[in-house]
Symmetry: C2
Subunit: 270 residues, 2 copies
């Protein structure tokens, strides 16, 4: 919102799964203040976060000097087959939306294998209708998430996705709608901030490497307003947003020291 | 319940999606009577139903003389992968429950292709957790429905299903539970009733054929209590349990006449 990506009204009116409205809840807990939500000049934005991936842990390093955030593409696909009874409908007469969807899931995985490198492709959400044991699925809606350090890789992956979907649907005789509805180009962080984080990592005595973030972060939006950068610490097994999320205390200390030293450096106090 | 397949208490306590209890609703509409629900002797049970499949329509026939109901097998499968962030998790580290599930869906279809004949195989229900765009699915639960005129075919299909699941899960490094929880052997209808239905179909002047039902029906349970049989009429496109369900009036007339003449015949009045 601060970065102008979301309108204030939209943010206020956002509701959670239980229908609670953000502005109402902010007011309820005393956080709805009079301060206008507009960016003010800043020297640099710094953010400390767990990697949410396995690379730092695998290499036995404590700190990631984050160079930027990968390019991201989100698509949604709806498959329209023919709902029918699972018993008396012969295999030759079927237009099964889930069979087509399964080929898309497999095909989305194959795109990553074929293009290789750091491309990751994921079908995270898939919803079947009517979703009962003895009905041939008439409709399936699913999501496709693709990410790569290079925008050009996504430019190559998206037509492959189009083909995967088209071929799966032709084979099963299923109609579809495919929408590439969200695309974020690679966000490079400010070279000066990245250099300051690197100096700080060295000075902190941490084992470190330069790294790219595979997930979106606040720093991505702040980078649109001014010099931004990030410090990563390892996450065990790459796990995040779950109960197993864990970072050893030594790594947290190295990360915090790197953040502190980089902030002093950028403030001209180092 | 009449056939002893469901206990009276269980039926009374059954609830629909909205939590309404059957016994309460029967009472509310004045249908909860004092009559004990026990079978009484009957000469024959007859049932008229749409085919729910395309065969009568394809062959331009009005009446199916139903010889029995196919053998049915239901299984449930739960796949336990590793839920993780779709961005920073490299493809090589993934244990994606949905990728394994997709291979199972494709494999279940392949079982029908390989064994051929009248075997039908369907994954009708599939539920993904946590089911969000940017999370690698940690858990998928799905159903497998398999049906064939011959019990022996299901005896061959079930081990193939075991192997499909095992191989898909090994490939993706995913743990699973597979349960073959329901099996109904082929139900042959009473030879005398089938013969009476056939005589009635001929006498009605309908175009007819002998046919096997791919779906379960009340007659399946009544067959456990006494002589039972069925009359099928065509359903357009094989569609059923949907708004498109349709049977031409001529066929309905032939079906009703067949039912009537068969009932007279079985009652010794023809």
């Amino acid at each position: 919102m601060l970065a102008g990506k979301i309108a204030l009204e939209d943010a206020y009116n956002a509701r959670d799964r239980d229908g609670l409205r953000l502005a109402d809840e902010l007011e309820r807990i005393g956080y709805l203040g009079p301060e206008p939500c507009v960016p003010r000049a800043f020297r640099a934005y710094l953010e400390l976060h767990i990697e949410q991936g396995p690379r730092l842990e695998e290499e036995g390093l404590s700190v990631g000097v984050v160079e930027g955030i990968v390019a991201i593409s989100w698509s949604r696909l709806t498959l329209h087959g023919v709902q029918d009874h699972a018993g008396p409908t012969p295999m030759r007469s079927r237009h099964d939306a889930l069979v087509a969807a399964a080929e898309v899931v497999t095909g989305v995985r194959r795109i990553a294998t074929e293009l290789g490198g750091d491309l990751v492709t994921t079908v995270g959400s898939l919803v079947v209708s009517p979703n009962i044991v003895n009905a041939i699925p008439g409709r399936v809606a699913l999501s496709i998430d693709m990410r790569d350090p290079q925008d050009a890789t996504l430019d190559r992956a998206l037509p492959l996705l189009d083909r995967v979907v088209q071929e799966a649907c032709e084979r099963e005789g299923v109609r579809y709608e495919l929408e590439h509805y969200w695309r974020v180009p690679r966000t490079p962080f400010d070279a000066g901030v990245v250099a300051a984080v690197e100096r700080a990592a060295k000075a902190s005595g941490a084992g470190w490497r330069r790294i790219l973030s595979g997930a979106g972060h606040d720093a991505q939006y702040m980078a649109a307003l001014g010099p931004a950068g990030m410090v990563f610490v390892p996450s065990r097994g790459g796990r995040s947003h779950c109960e197993e999320e864990f970072t050893p205390m030594d790594d947290i200390e190295h990360g915090a020291n790197t953040l502190f030293l980089a902030a002093l450096d950028l403030a001209g106090r180092a």
